[in-house]
């Protein structure tokens, strides 16, 4: 059960490149590794909480109105997480803050609740949320990395905004005087980058 969640989330049912759910934030936010990672981490937290809170109350939810109730629970948990991070992790909020409310509209959260958490006990649902989240996070970081490298010639810029000043030196700059490749940073670059990642995934799958 644990192993299945890992394989599904990270590869076979990867939300980013196989299920293609939650594309709106995936494409909009991944201009750098750090932005991708920030949104990815926030999504992981939301997916765990949403899955784990729907699963134990699944018997009380009438079938006819399950979707509005799922949305209600997801929106409430996102708000709670938003408030908690704002109050108790101020530096993290400065980096993640703008991304958290975006997650309510992310289809992948609703999709996992609908197709998994509403039919399974709490522990598998927890794992499902965790690994689906990590799978998406992985794609966000990769896409952010591609776009940042091509667009700005850097990697990990702004890492200190999430993890503190000690990590400032981890930012890599590959070329001095790099003019920048604007297409990669603009939205079309996100579509092209994602297309490349999907192609790569399919190619690896076919070779096996």
């Amino acid at each position: 059960m644990f192993k299945k969640a890992v394989i599904d989330g990270l590869w076979k049912q990867n939300p980013g490149v196989i299920q293609l759910l939650g594309l709106c934030p995936t494409l909009a936010v991944t201009t750098t590794v750090v932005n991708g990672l920030s949104l990815g981490l926030a999504t992981v937290i939301v997916m765990i909480v949403a899955n784990a809170s729907i699963s134990p109350i699944r018997r009380f939810i009438p079938d006819e109105i399950r979707v509005p109730i799922f949305i209600l629970v997801i929106a409430a948990s996102v708000t709670v997480i938003d408030l908690a991070i704002h109050a108790y992790a101020e530096p993290l909020y400065k980096a993640l803050g703008i991304f958290i409310p975006l997650i309510v509209t992310n289809c992948i959260v609703l999709a996992r609740v609908e197709s998994f958490a509403s039919k399974n006990p709490i522990l598998p649902s927890f794992y499902d949320g965790l690994f689906m989240g990590i799978g998406l996070c992985f794609v966000l970081v990769l896409l952010g990395g591609m776009r940042e490298f091509l667009g700005k010639g850097t990697l990990f810029s702004g890492l200190d905004l999430i993890f503190g000043q000690n990590y400032k030196d981890l930012s890599l700059e590959f070329f001095s005087n790099y003019e920048g490749f604007l297409l990669a940073v603009l939205p079309p670059g996100a579509f092209l980058g994602l297309a490349l990642l999907i192609a790569l995934t399919n190619w690896i799958d076919q070779k096996k």
């Binding site: 750098t32 709670v80 940073v185």
Partner: protein
């Protein structure tokens, strides 16, 4: 007839369940909001204080800047639709600088909010963007956390560079910008120039009497 009553029962049951869920989660949110709000307000106030102090690191002062402010009515040059705050930076009785809140209405997406510290000689000491929604990775270099760009305005005034040169280099002005996003710096430069114009024409009202 029994069918009718049966349907009605289901409808009421559904409404009841939805209502209960709504109430329960409203309660959870309410409790959580009450618990976190004081912490959030406190850390926001502290962040604001830190921000104000970082603007005037080089200026001698002994007053509590955050508490020592007055309101400025809506003004075209400052772009404020409601009254905005102006903070006094005083050393004893001497007014050394003033911090104005201003906004650039013509950014790429939404208003850009700035704090501008201006000294007696009508020079910008430091300016910082406090809130904006410019494109991440593109126009957001106006934010000091992302890029030191905004510091090019240190020690500038309406005479330095001359008024005509208050523009990005692309528009034959004096200020650098990062290619790909010119709308954002244009908006910032225009707002700062307007703020300086406001300062110049209201110097007396702001409290600089004997200069």
């Amino acid at each position: 007839m029994t069918n009718f009553f049966h349907n009605q029962k289901i409808i009421f049951q559904t409404i009841l369940v939805m209502l209960i869920f709504g109430l329960v989660f409203a309660l959870v949110l309410g409790v959580f909001y009450e618990k976190t709000n004081p912490v959030i307000l406190k850390s926001e106030a502290e962040a604001k204080k830190r921000m104000l102090l970082s603007l005037i690191e080089s200026v001698e002062h002994d007053n509590d800047v955050e508490q020592d402010f007055f309101e400025i009515k809506p003004n075209v040059l400052l772009g404020n639709k409601k009254s905005s705050k102006a903070y006094r930076v005083k050393n004893g009785d001497e007014l050394n600088a003033i911090i104005l809140e201003t906004r650039a209405p013509d950014g790429y997406s939404g208003d850009i909010f700035l704090l501008v510290a201006i000294n007696k000689q009508s020079e910008i000491i430091t300016t910082r963007v406090i809130k904006h929604q410019e494109t991440p990775g593109l126009g957001d270099y106006i934010d000091i956390e992302k890029n030191p760009w905004i510091d090019i305005f240190k020690e500038t005034s309406l005479g330095n560079p001359s008024e005509k040169l208050w523009a990005v280099k692309k528009d034959n002005g004096d200020f650098d910008y990062i290619s790909g996003a010119t709308i954002t710096p244009r908006a910032v430069i225009k707002a700062l120039k307007n703020t300086l114009l406001f300062f110049e024409s209201n110097k007396n009202k702001l409290g600089f009497n004997n200069v």
